[in-house]
Each structure stands twice: as structure tokens, then as C-alpha cells.
């Protein structure tokens, strides 16, 4: 059986990216926005791996490694900030965080 063409993977990753983007735009709690961002990062990873296979080039796969690490570091820092805010205000709804505006 032939392996699926690269287009399929790219289409799937585009779909994941779009879902993540929708999530960021519509969700109002920090955690859910943050989860959506992770989805977007994984969409990029899928695209990178698919392209790396179609070009027969390992650079794309190493890039995935780097992006995974970045995502983990982002999780750590993001959760730290969210926990710090939650301790002070008991909410992570971004609409409530509106001291700064104008």
C-alpha cells in the first residue's frame, strides 16, 4: 500500500492549526487559550515532519525536536504565570483582567 501523500498530512496540520486559532480567538480562559496554542504548535510539528519526509531531509525532524522543547518551556512559564494570577484573583478569565486599558 502506498504511503499517504504529503498533501494529506499538510491538510490535517492546517486543520489542526485552524482549530487552534479558533480556540485562541473564542475561548476566554487563559488555560483554554493556552491549550489552543499548544495545538497550533503541534500542527506545525506535524507539517515539519511531513515535509521532512517528502524532501528526504533530516533538518525538519530536528526542528520538531526543538519546537517540542520550546513548547515544554512555554508550558512551564505559562502555567507559572497563570498560577501566580490565580492565587491573587481566583480567576483566569481574560475579560476580568482589564485593569490596563485605554
Amino acid at each position: 500500500m502506498d504511503p499517504a501523500p504529503t498533501t494529506y498530512y499538510v491538510a490535517l496540520s492546517g486543520l489542526l492549526f485552524a482549530i487552534g486559532m479558533m480556540g485562541v480567538l473564542t475561548r476566554r480562559t487563559a488555560i483554554m487559550m493556552f491549550l489552543s496554542v499548544e495545538l497550533m504548535l503541534n500542527a506545525a510539528n506535524l507539517a515539519l515532519v511531513a515535509f521532512a519526509r517528502s524532501w528526504g531531509d533530516l533538518a525538519g525532524q530536528t526542528a520538531v525536536f526543538i519546537v517540542m522543547t520550546l513548547a515544554a518551556a512555554e508550558v512551564a512559564i505559562g502555567l507559572a504565570i497563570i498560577v501566580a494570577i490565580f492565587r491573587q484573583r481566583e480567576t483566569t478569565n481574560v475579560d476580568v483582567l482589564a485593569t490596563l486599558k485605554g
Binding site: A44, A59, I81, A84, G102
Partner: protein, 486 residues
């Protein structure tokens, strides 16, 4: 046995020195007092600048590279790196006077600042998209922490906003990177530039999509409208020392990344320039219009940073030779004048929210030195001769104009005329008769801040009168035409 990677120490040295500062702050912070640690970091930054100056390659010399071209210490990297170091030193010097008062946690502030500088230098020295991405993320992650460091509701709110929007920007940028890789089969700037010439229509579509996503991602990082919404909240909510760092060094680095990617790797790719000119037009209108209506001085400077993003990005529309030189000059001048103005705010503010513009009335009669320096900074930000801001704006407009962006240049000139209003109103208030009681923070010696302000103002005056002191190094178009390598 595989061949060992091509690790050269010389091009890595400036970055390693800054990293050494970051690591030593992390470890030694528990054993040394704050001022000693900051002094060590300042010395390491100076050494890093010296190491960069030694990397300067004269005519005919090939720039030093490491890791098979992934790290390029070419002249562009050196010039941008020196600008970054100048901004970082301003932030550290000001923190000597204000970090304690602002309750910035120690040693995290010093460590995170140095980690962020490491990332910014990696961007300036990058030779492929991966190194650029690592640098960008190291810088961004450290900046999110910096914005949150102060234990106050304002700082936490600004940190969360910065984090959420910044991580969306990163994700968009990474997806763009993946698409560009898919279109060209290469992650190195040189490889991408070489591959853009002969693409199939399908791959061309991928490339255009990738370039636009990269543009949006960088738009988040440099605060181009409509991706600028976080900027005023973060710059005015973060402690002023941190705002100084974010609005100078981080912006310079993000522009360095844009210069590498769009001026180097994607210089022959279609369509991104048209999209960029729309973003710039929006930025110029939004940034300048919003600045007009601010009552808080720190927030006005934040919006002025957005407006300046528009002016700075115009240089990217020029031909690489002219535009790169214009951007290099303008970035240094922008760093110096914004840094000096925010240093004055940091010294005089009573709270980290900055001061109201009306509180500046009669400052000349209370702090003549600061008032004159602030007036000079504002005049330079407005782009009035003889200060260096004028020359920076002129170069950026010229670069865009000569490359055929006539209507955008006209819009930019109109915008900078409108900008005169909001820059000169506080500048005139400074010299009005003193009728209000003083509203500044009354105490304290501020030798380091004074030094920063004096050097910054002296530099923008001298660079305005004798622009070639800095522009002379930048003027060679060959520097900027080889951003992607040979």
C-alpha cells in the same frame, strides 16, 4: 565515525559571554549582593561588545561562521549585536537605581535579563531559521517572566497578556517556518534564498503562505498593527525598567530577525512586501492616533513605540542595501532615545504606573538636568533636527520612497507631522511656570540613571550632528545584501 561539528569559538564568544553572565547570576545570586551581580553582568556585556568588535570583517574578508553556517558573525550581526548590548546596558544601569524600589525579585531579574540578551544575540547572529527560532523563544520566554517579575496585580496582568499573545505569535511564526521549509526544502537562509528562484506553482503557494505567517508572527513580536494590542498594556503595566528593556532590546532583536528573514532568506519571495506595507500603514495610523489621546506619560511612550515600529519597518521595504543601513542606524537611535526617556520616567515616577503628562509641568524648575534631557529625547523621537531621530526617520523614508512606496512615504511624513503634537506638548509643559507641587519621587541618589541619561542624550545629539560616526560603518550595501550568506 561522523565528522565533528564545525564549532568555532570566535563567533560564539559574544553569545557565550552573555550566557556566562546569565548562568552566573542564576548560581551566584544566592551568595552575592545585587549591585555586585549587576556590575559583573555589565562587565560581561562590555566584554561581549569587545568580542563583537573583533569579529568585524574588513573588505574582502569572509565573515566567521560556526556550525556549518548556522551561526554567522557577519558585519550585520556585529552592528545589530552592538545595538542590543547598548540597550541592555542601559536597562541594567537603570536597574541599579530602581530595581530595589520597584521590588523586582532578585536574582531573577538579572538572570532573566541576561538570558533574554543571549536570545537576542542568537537572533542577530542566526544563519538559519532554527537558530533564529531558538533565539526568539529564549528571548520571548525570558521577557514574559521579566514582565511578571514584580509582585503586583498590574505586572501579573501585563505578564499574562504578553504571554498569551506572545505565544500565539510564536505559534503562527513556527507554522510559517514549517510552510517555508516545505516550499523550499531548506531551513538555512542561504538555501531558502537559492530555492525561491525556481519553484513549482504549488510550492510557490506554500512559500507565500509561509512568508505571510512569518510576517504575522514577527508582527506580534515587533508590535505591527493589527498585532500590536498587547504593547501598550505590557509596556505600561510592567515595571519601568522592564518596559525599557522590552521596548528597546526586544524590539531591536525582533527587527534583526525580520531583517534576516525578509531581507535575506525571502528577499526574492513575492507578495510579503505588499502585505507589509498595509501593516505599516495601519501601524502608523493607529500608533500615532492613539498617542494623541494618552494622559499617562509612560503609556504615551508605549504608543509612541508602536508608532515607531511603523517608521522602523519602512526601512524593510527598501532595497536590502539601502534599507538595511537605514534600519541599522534607526534601531540604534531608537534604542538610545527611548532608553533615555524611560530612564527618566523610572527615576522620577512615584509608582510603577509612571506619571501623568500634566505632572511634568514645571519640571525644569525642579530638575533642570532631567527636563532638558527629556526635552531632547522627545524632540528626537518627534524627528526634529539636529537630533539623531530626524536622520533615522529620513533614512527610513528614503529607503521606502526609492523602492517605489510613494504613498506610504507620504503617509509616514503626515504621521510624523501629527506626532509633533503629542511629543511637543509634554516638552513644552516641562518649561512652563511652576504652579503645581512636585509630584516626583523625592529621594535618592541616582548616579547610574544620570549616567545612562547623559550618555543617551549625548549620543543622540552627536549622532544627529555627525551621523556618519555610526552610519559610516553601516553604509556599505554589501553588508546588507549578504544577509543570507553567499
Amino acid at each position: 565515525m561522523l565528522t565533528p561539528p564545525d564549532v568555532a569559538l570566535a563567533p560564539l564568544l559574544p553569545i557565550l559571554l552573555v550566557l556566562a553572565g546569565a548562568v552566573s547570576s542564576t548560581v551566584l545570586g544566592f551568595h552575592l549582593p545585587r549591585r555586585t551581580l549587576t556590575a559583573i553582568n555589565l562587565v560581561l556585556l562590555l566584554l561581549s561588545a569587545a568580542a563583537m568588535a573583533l569579529l568585524w570583517s574588513g573588505p574582502g574578508e569572509l565573515p566567521a561562521t560556526a556550525f556549518g553556517g548556522s551561526l554567522r558573525a557577519d558585519n550585520a550581526a556585529v552592528l545589530l549585536g552592538l545595538t542590543i548590548v547598548a540597550g541592555s546596558m542601559m536597562a541594567l544601569l537603570v536597574s541599579l537605581d530602581t530595581a530595589y524600589r520597584a521590588r523586582l525579585s532578585f536574582p531573577e531579574f538579572d538572570a532573566m535579563l541576561m538570558y533574554a540578551v543571549t536570545g537576542t544575540l542568537l537572533i542577530a547572529f542566526s544563519g538559519d531559521l532554527i537558530v533564529m527560532l531558538i533565539g526568539l523563544e529564549v528571548m520571548s520566554l525570558a521577557s514574559y517572566v521579566l514582565a511578571t517579575l514584580q509582585d503586583s496585580r498590574r505586572a501579573e496582568e501585563s505578564g499574562l497578556k504578553y504571554f498569551l499573545l506572545g505565544s500565539v505569535g510564536s505559534a503562527v511564526l513556527i507554522y510559517g517556518l514549517a510552510l517555508v521549509y516545505g516550499a523550499t526544502g531548506s531551513l538555512s537562509y542561504g538555501g531558502i534564498a537559492a530555492a525561491t528562484a525556481g519553484l513549482t506553482p504549488g510550492n510557490l503557494g506554500l512559500l507565500v503562505g509561509g512568508a505571510l505567517l512569518l510576517l504575522a508572527g514577527f508582527g506580534f513580536k515587533v508590535a505591527l498593527a493589527p498585532f500590536h494590542q498587547w504593547t501598550p498594556d505590557v509596556y505600561s503595566g510592567a515595571p519601568t525598567t522592564v518596559s525599557l528593556f522590552l521596548s528597546t532590546v526586544v524590539k531591536v532583536a525582533a527587527f534583526a530577525g525580520m531583517l534576516r528573514v525578509f531581507g535575506g532568506a525571502l528577499q526574492n519571495a513575492p507578495f510579503w512586501a505588499s502585505a507589509l506595507q498595509l501593516l505599516i500603514a495601519a501601524t502608523l495610523i493607529v500608533g500615532n492616533a492613539a498617542s494623541l489621546f494618552q494622559t499617562n506619560f509612560k503609556r504615551m511612550l508605549a504608543y509612541s513605540a508602536v508608532a515607531h515600529t511603523g517608521f522602523l519597518a519602512m526601512a524593510l521595504l527598501g532595497t536590502p542595501g539601502l534599507g538595511g543601513a537605514a534600519l541599522g542606524y534607526y534601531l540604534l537611535v531608537y534604542t538610545l532615545m527611548t532608553g533615555a526617556a524611560l530612564a527618566i520616567v523610572a527615576a522620577l515616577q512615584r509608582t510603577e504606573a509612571g506619571m501623568n503628562i500634566s505632572d511634568l509641568r514645571g519640571l525644569y524648575h525642579r530638575h533642570p538636568g532631567y527636563a532638558v534631557a527629556l526635552a531632547a529625547c522627545l524632540a528626537s523621537l518627534a524627528g526634529l533636527p539636529p537630533f539623531a531621530g530626524f536622520f533615522g526617520k529620513y533614512l527610513a523614508f528614503q529607503a521606502a520612497f526609492q523602492n517605489g512606496y510613494v504613498w506610504l512615504s507620504i503617509l509616514a511624513v503626515l504621521a510624523s507631522v501629527a506626532a509633533l503634537v503629542y511629543y511637543l506638548r509634554p516638552a513644552m509643559l516641562l518649561f512652563m511656570p511652576d504652579r503645581t507641587p512636585a509630584r516626583e519621587y523625592p529621594h535618592g541618589q541616582r548616579p547610574a540613571t544620570n549616567l545612562t541619561v547623559a550618555l543617551g542624550v549625548a549620543a543622540i545629539t552627536v549622532l544627529g550632528l555627525l551621523p556618519n560616526l555610526w552610519y559610516g560603518w553601516l553604509a556599505d550595501p554589501a553588508i546588507w545584501e549578504l544577509l543570507a550568506g553567499r
